[in-house]
């Protein structure tokens, strides 16, 4: 049985409460700052993230603790995911700073929105009821819509924000509709009670399956899985690169946890139903993502399609429906975030005044201009392609092992064959960097911080590839 610590459970939500308070403070402070003092906001944001990490570590739990009458969960998985998300957001903002300053986007609202999005992720991570889940989803989504449109002079950004908003609203509606049907059949919104109620009603109940279908649509949309992926390339392409970087990282953790909380915890008895749906979605994602990525000339678009295919892999772990599968999926999500942050970081590294650096051609001859960062990008690309000894390989292996373990060897075979297709477009980047001559003579202008963190990011991909146990054991420990 789960231990209920207190009725209010302030401690369980300490990090969220701290973050919310900090957001309000930053919002107030920012109003009184002139543009030249904007770094104070940036500094406060970083301090807030460090503070969140401190609070989370301080109030870390060994077992699952529920609070606010079961609306809120604190568990080891949540703690790890939150800590990882703080790190991701901090690194994203570090990478973004120069770009934002250069393009007149270095404003307080950007950081406020990022922190609110983070709060949304945290609420989703700790959601104990469908209502909390939805609260987190909306908190995150609304911040992201605004962030995409942050560059108000950019028509492309406005267009993609509009698309994102309209499609996102529809999917949120679908999710909410699914939740309401589940509530209608099961009579509860709380995930643990839902799990019991589903068993009583029977997993084959047509109402439940009907509700489940809408929930899956919502989850697939938030993940960006085929056939609900249409927004991904446009938003990734249209948004300012720092925002793309942001969308490509922390929200993936949120999507993962959304699937885990709702499917694996609330609807675990219906595994047979959602497994077959996810199989179709995963295969379609891997096929569309990998094949269409080949045709892209814009790196952000290519990475968008690559994301879609990676989502297929993350879903493979979840659809296995076993603890090992969830662990594998979590490991995949975390490694994907590390690689994704690095890849978009490379675009930010190449960008300079009046030059986005987001065309694939822009990487031509990088090995000449900057041998070290060509190595970093090469490691990131090989890792994303799943070639050992980089960490991306272990993520794929863990997921494949989980899938084979539940007797879906054919699915594993399909997945690995599609990863060969994927290898092609990652190799093309390496080809451009190493085998082609540079087409211009500009050198990299990025500052020391960006260089240092990005280098560390690249080295991490290799180090975690040689010693994957560090992260794997963590995932195994928090998902017992």
């Amino acid at each position: 049985m789960e231990a209920v610590v207190t009725n209010f459970g302030m401690q369980a939500a300490a990090a969220e409460i701290f973050l919310l308070a900090a957001i309000c403070v930053i919002l107030l402070v920012d109003v009184f700052l002139s543009d030249s003092k904007r770094w104070v906001t940036y500094g406060l944001t970083m301090l807030t993230l460090a503070g969140c990490a401190f609070v989370t570590v301080n109030y870390a739990v060994d077992t699952r603790v529920t609070a606010f009458d079961g609306m809120f969960i604190a568990d080891p998985m949540g703690d790890v995911l939150k800590l990882f998300t703080y790190g991701t957001v901090a690194v994203s903002l570090l990478y973004s700073r120069e770009y934002l300053e250069r393009n007149g986007l270095f404003r307080g609202e950007f950081f406020i929105l990022a922190l609110v999005a983070l709060l949304g992720v945290m609420v989703m991570v700790s959601a104990g009821s469908l209502l909390t889940v939805y609260l987190g989803v909306e908190l995150l989504s609304l911040s992201l819509y605004a962030m995409v449109a942050f560059d108000r002079d950019s028509g492309v950004a406005a267009e993609s924000a509009m698309k994102y908003f309209v499609l996102g609203a529809i999917s949120s509606g679908a999710l909410l509709y699914g939740f309401s049907i589940l509530y209608g059949v099961a009579g509860t919104l709380q995930l643990d009670e839902l799990a019991v109620a589903v068993r009583e009603v029977g997993a084959g109940n047509i109402g439940l399956i009907f509700g489940l279908t809408f929930v899956i649509v919502g989850i697939a949309f938030k993940f960006g899985a085929v056939p609900f992926h249409m927004w991904v390339p446009d938003v990734y392409h249209g948004a300012p690169t720092p925002v793309t970087l942001f969308i490509g990282s922390a929200p993936k953790i949120a999507s993962f946890v959304l699937a885990i909380r709702v499917l694996a915890e609330g609807l675990d008895a219906m595994v047979a139903s959602w497994q077959s749906m996810l199989i179709a979605i995963a295969i379609a994602s891997m096929i569309i993502g990998n094949v269409v990525a080949i045709a892209q000339t814009n790196l952000k678009r290519m990475l968008a399609y690559s994301t879609i295919s990676h989502v297929g892999f993350i879903l493979l772990g979840i659809l296995a429906g076993t603890t090992d599968g969830y662990r594998a999926s979590m490991f995949y999500t975390l490694t994907y975030v590390i690689m994704s942050v690095g890849s978009f970081g490379m675009i930010l590294l190449l960008s300079r005044k009046g030059f986005e650096g987001d065309q694939i051609e822009d990487f031509k001859g990088l090995a000449r201009k900057s041998p070290w960062f060509a190595v970093v990008m090469m490691m990131l690309m090989f890792s994303t392609a799943g070639v050992p000894p980089f960490v991306g390989f272990w993520a794929k292996l863990a997921v494949l092992a989980a899938v084979v373990n539940v007797g879906l060897s054919w699915l594993a075979a399909v997945a690995v064959l599609l990863s060969v297709v994927a290898a092609f477009y990652y190799l093309r980047i390496i080809k451009l960097m190493y085998f082609d001559e540079p087409s211009d003579t500009y050198s990299i202008e990025a500052g020391g911080t960006l260089r240092a963190v990005l280098s560390a990011n690249g080295v991490a991909v290799l180090a975690l590839g040689i010693f994957p146990s560090v992260l794997l054991d963590l995932c195994a420990r928090v998902l017992p």
Binding site: P371, V375, F382, V387, P388, P389, F393, W394, L397, A398, L400, A401, V404, N405, S409, A412, A413, V416, L417, S419, V420, A423, F424, L427, I430, K431, Y434, F435, P468, S469, L472, D473, A476
Partner: protein
């Protein structure tokens, strides 16, 4: 008795890799020093590898110089190393060839030389690791990681169509390997069901598997190893890769990387799926014979020296796969008697080592000519003997070895395999024996057109004979080819217990 108490295999793997990383950090500015670092690292590695041979216990088939450390508890995977009579000679071959590659590139490589040497050093460590792995996951990681430096080597320092060739090389071999990964995972999960999760290759060999499972696993392995060997019809990446690769890349590719396919058959396919191998041996044998005969004819028609040697490699590697899979046929013919069955595997192993030396030497010869004339076309040469007499002597020697002349190493392996196929079936022997004619035809015709005859053009007239560096490389290889040809007994002794053990293993049905 193994008397070495320090982790010799780890040193063999990590020393070259450390040297490679040092080269990258040093950069092109310190290349004068860098070349020496590369040479000393590879030479020391070779020196250490000879300790493997001298301390090798030839009375046992057990793994020697074993190291084991926990690596990834999540997958029950170990950093486990060890060698037996198959792995050890291949490791020594790897350590022997790499310093020669470094010497051969000494003054020839002027484009990003530090990265060039770094790639070869890292590649060497990874290749030794592949042969030394006792853990299937470690094997797979190194097996795939090996593609990265080779991809870079062909892509940066290759010929005009290098990008096409290297991407084809990478995707082809990657495609072959991924299915192997799925079958490794499958077997891993089988060991879990049996109680003790493990990626140890030895555990896989003991694992009871039904015939259908074996067939699936066998086909997955076949995809991986057949591409690597390469066997007909999945050989088409090899001529492209060879033609476009720089000399050193071609040498490593032909001498070592192709051997990994043959090694894979002996280490994985035969012992893990003996019944499937028995059932499907006709398939491998037919593909091998097609490689020997058809590719032999294809080789005759080539206009490009490197392409010709590449096709000749495919034909010669056909003997390796033929020899390995004749075992089942021999046991059927001799109704289960295993005494003669080892001969095919013996032949396959000798052929691998010998082909490593000879094909490497042939590519070095082409490299010597290419560095001077910058053409690989056979028609661009003629009468080289007039201007390069010493070189011509070497080329003729290696040409003879390539066509299997007695007293060269090329003879021993082919002879053993042909002899084994005679015992199995006359027609196998007949088709395999055609190689003696075909091999002689394409090799000697190549030598005739390039080396002999009147001086063809002013390029040939201006040729200078081999310098000391080239003489060293070719001379060392010539000694090795002749040594192994005249006295193959030490190699056979080293392998004997391992071969006998393998034959014992595969005669026991897993069903």
């Amino acid at each position: 008795m193994s008397t070495i108490t320090w982790p010799i295999l780890s040193v063999l793997i990590w020393l070259p890799i450390a040297g490679g990383v040092a080269m990258i950090l040093l950069g092109d500015k310190g290349i004068a020093l860098g070349r020496w670092i590369a040479l000393i690292t590879t030479a020391v590695t070779f020196g250490i590898s000879t300790l493997l041979w001298t301390n090798f216990d030839t009375t046992t088939a057990a793994m020697q110089f074993v190291e084991e450390r926990t690596w990834i508890p999540f997958f029950s995977s170990y950093y486990a190393l060890g060698v037996d009579g198959f792995a050890m000679p291949l490791i020594v071959l790897t350590a022997f060839i790499t310093p020669l590659v470094v010497i051969a590139g000494w003054s020839v490589i002027d484009k990003r030389p530090a990265q060039y040497y770094a790639a070869f050093l890292i590649l060497e460590g990874l290749m030794i690791g592949v042969f030394a792995s006792l853990d299937a996951l470690l094997f797979y990681v190194l097996w795939e990681a090996m593609l990265i430096p080779m991809f870079i080597i062909i892509g940066i320092w290759g010929g005009p169509r290098r990008v096409y060739a290297t991407i084809k090389f990478f995707l082809y071999t990657f495609l072959g390997s991924v299915l192997m990964l799925v079958s490794l995972i499958y077997m891993y999960l089988q060991t879990c069901d049996a109680g003790q999760c493990s990626y140890a290759i030895a555990e896989f060999q003991r694992l009871p598997l039904g015939l259908n499972e074996q067939l699936f696993i066998f086909v997955a392995f076949l995809a991986a190893f057949a591409v690597k060997v390469p066997m007909w019809p999945v050989h088409t990446w090899l001529p492209d890769a060879h033609v476009e690769a720089p000399t050193g890349g071609s040498v490593i590719l032909a001498a070592i990387m192709l051997k990994m396919g043959g090694y894979g058959f002996l280490r994985f396919s035969l012992p893990i799926t003996p019944d499937a191998s028995d059932t499907l041996d006709w398939l491998v044998i037919s593909l091998s014979l097609i490689a020997v005969v058809y590719i032999g004819f294809v080789a005759i028609a080539q206009q490009d020296m490197k392409k010709l040697i590449a096709y000749s490699s495919i034909a010669h590697m056909g003997f390796v796969t033929l020899g390995s899979f004749l075992t089942f046929e021999l046991m059927r013919v001799n109704s289960g008697d295993t005494t003669g069955a080892a001969m095919g595997i013996d032949g396959a192993m000798v052929q691998m080592i010998s082909h490593g030396l000879i094909s490497g030497a042939m590519f070095f010869c082409v490299g010597v000519l290419y560095d001077r004339v910058h053409s690989r076309e056979i028609s661009a040469y003629g009468g080289v003997v007039n201007t390069m007499p010493i070189f011509a002597a070497f080329m003729v020697l290696f040409g003879m070895a390539n066509s299997g002349l007695p007293a060269t190493s090329g003879f021993v392996g082919e002879f053993l395999v042909i002899l084994a196929s005679f015992r199995a079936d006359f027609w196998y022997a007949f088709l395999a024996g055609l190689t003696l004619i075909l091999g002689a035809a394409y090799t000697l015709w190549l030598v005739k057109r390039v080396v002999f005859g009147p001086v063809a053009n002013h390029h040939v007239a201006e040729l200078t004979d081999v310098n000391g560096r080239e003489l060293l490389v070719l001379g060392v290889l010539a000694l090795a080819v002749l040594g192994l040809g005249l006295w193959p007994a030490p190699l056979l002794d080293v392998m004997r217990p391992t071969v006998e053990n393998l034959v014992q293993q595969i005669t026991v049905s897993k069903l």
